[in-house]
Symmetry: C2
Amino acid sequence: MGNKISIGLLGLGVVGSGVIKLIENHQEKLVHQLGADVQVKSVLVRNLDKQRDVDLDRTFLTTNPDDVLNDPEIDLIIEVMGGIDEAREYILKAFSAKKHVVTANKDLVALHGPELQKAARKNKCDFYYEASVAGGIPILRGITEGLSSDRIRKVMGIVNGTTNYILTKMDQEGLSYEVALKQAQELGFAEADPTSDVEGLDAARKMAILARLSFSMDVDLEDVEVKGISDISLDDLKYASQLGYTMKLIGYADFRDRQLEVNVQPTMLAKNHPLASVSDEYNAVYVYGDAVGETMFYGPGAGSLPTATAITSDVVSVIKNMLLGVTGSQYVDPHFNKELKESDKCFGQFYVRLHVKDEVGVFSRISALFNELNISFKRILQNPIIKHEKAEIIVVTHQTSLENFQTALNHLNDLDAVMETKSYYKVEGDAEK
Amino acid sequence: MGNKISIGLLGLGVVGSGVIKLIENHQEKLVHQLGADVQVKSVLVRNLDKQRDVDLDRTFLTTNPDDVLNDPEIDLIIEVMGGIDEAREYILKAFSAKKHVVTANKDLVALHGPELQKAARKNKCDFYYEASVAGGIPILRGITEGLSSDRIRKVMGIVNGTTNYILTKMDQEGLSYEVALKQAQELGFAEADPTSDVEGLDAARKMAILARLSFSMDVDLEDVEVKGISDISLDDLKYASQLGYTMKLIGYADFRDRQLEVNVQPTMLAKNHPLASVSDEYNAVYVYGDAVGETMFYGPGAGSLPTATAITSDVVSVIKNMLLGVTGSQYVDPHFNKELKESDKCFGQFYVRLHVKDEVGVFSRISALFNELNISFKRILQNPIIKHEKAEIIVVTHQTSLENFQTALNHLNDLDAVMETKSYYKVEGDAEK
């Protein structure tokens, strides 16, 4: 066809370099698929002189965003610079200049996705962001196209590789949280300041994006309740394993009766749950649909080339749309108004670990307390802790409302015999043992 | 938009009924996504009077294919009648009448996919068949769109639910093949004549389709070498487990140096392989791409509603294309000419179980034989079988060519000390124990 498509890149870090390598290495496949010649024409960088890991003519580099955003020959912008405000400004400028945008920027999409999407449509531009969730896994396409005819009820994701790596090492090698985190940092799986990962904020961004697309509503980042992994103890991992569970940081989104529950929290998954065997830095997203039942998408959640694959696949989609003249058509306004579930509508099973006085009748008082709230037990473990004249009690409840469980926790703390509530976690699935 | 899309259905078995239910139940979502009203207008059946599980006006039913294929109001045909010759004829007629086609017919697509695809394009029609591989899992979209920018090297699939169910029961509950098969038949997971499933033919059809799309070449069904599960013994499952493997019926397609290897065979997977934990009737497809690395798509491989989900998602794609005026544009001619690998280019690890005379020097003779062929051992097990004055030897080799391994098997049979080669299987991955 002889078409030539010129791309502008905002940012040339590891992901940007990966995109350039991929476009170069897979040129033959791209030309074959698209009948078009795809070239990176200019790249916005902060420092022209920095040593780069890619083979790129230096004259392509610029520190002036307008060289990329106002170049009439450029059809498509790839934003891999990260950050929020500048990135948002440049993308809006790109849309005004009728340029399509592909981004990997989960922070930006989580915060400003709906606004950017509307700006894109207004300008008949495409806006794709597959790489913003779960790196190389084509999960957004899976949800918006593969399962487009189904009614998705629940999405559960291991969407942060850092925390999954840390939990895997703690669980399989008995490393403490601190040692596992340090190892993750040394391997480049965790940043020097790991807060965003280990406190679940990164996962929350991805869950906001996933919930939006799965349930067709505007979900804000602050709608996602978040609990991180930094206070998980090896004791809880050990008990989880004894009871047939594996602890994972799970992003959870559930939509029922037009009400949404969305959160990120450490969760004990039954070992036979499809997500339970996802280990190390891998990601996976489990989707439950009314008709399809259980599906799962598994793969690398980060990394230069996997992320670049998702970006470049988006680029291929945009170019196809350009050649067919149908850009800007993929976006559908949200179908539902957002309504969040109150805690009496959020249901789950729960694990709770208590230290109690080692004396007669303690367990029966605790059990009476749960009984009054209509919470029944699925599993009970009790061990004496000889040295300290106390006992450890672990219970796993059957399904109950979060409200009910929180009431139980409050009442437990009022009981004289209960010395300390050591920990509690949500539980998913039915363990076989 | 007020568009009305009329659909004709060929066949009204379990999948056809599922499609009708899904289109009815999810009408609101479809209207919202498409801005169009989607209705099933007529249905080809064999018997007008048969009791049906769906709520459908009887006047919609017909036994005359022309009522569906020649109705000018019908835009799109869903073929769920099964079989080869009639289905092919009707689909070609539909394309001639400029009607788009969605099918779940893996037998037909495996045998005549390239021909039908060309007929579709000639008539500017869409031809989609997501449901033909792995039921509800959107794997074809994953490969053709999600990973479109990557170079796929290897595809491994558990793409037959019947055999996966049987192997799971044999492995986890120690049932014999016969008992597990009977159970699968009683549960409706296996047909009265299970040949096509248990001998791997069904999986082969899906692998032909997967290989075509993954590697962009015309792959014929007869290119797929097939070995089924009917002679797998509990002994081999037991040894697999001892060695850290799980036996699965694996469809394998590998493309390197522009040469293809594609087959279906029982394979011992390292337990840490993502496919190893796929159990019961579930399916999963593992895809290895140069850039993305390992990904896996998991879900229900069959069933009325999961299959209907895939079909209806295809219908949504076709209708979007219709509304945008871009039907017939998704097909790209194969990029590569097919060239199959000879057995000296097919590499793998292999498990072999031998019964040998229980006498001095036997193992060293066997080991010398492998040594001469440059095949080294990864694992060795030797057990005496007291009663019969023989011993059982199990070896797992390191990577070697299939040609080399077959030569070794032949030489083993010539050895006087080897009484019988009980079994041999391909091995994938590195077991941890």
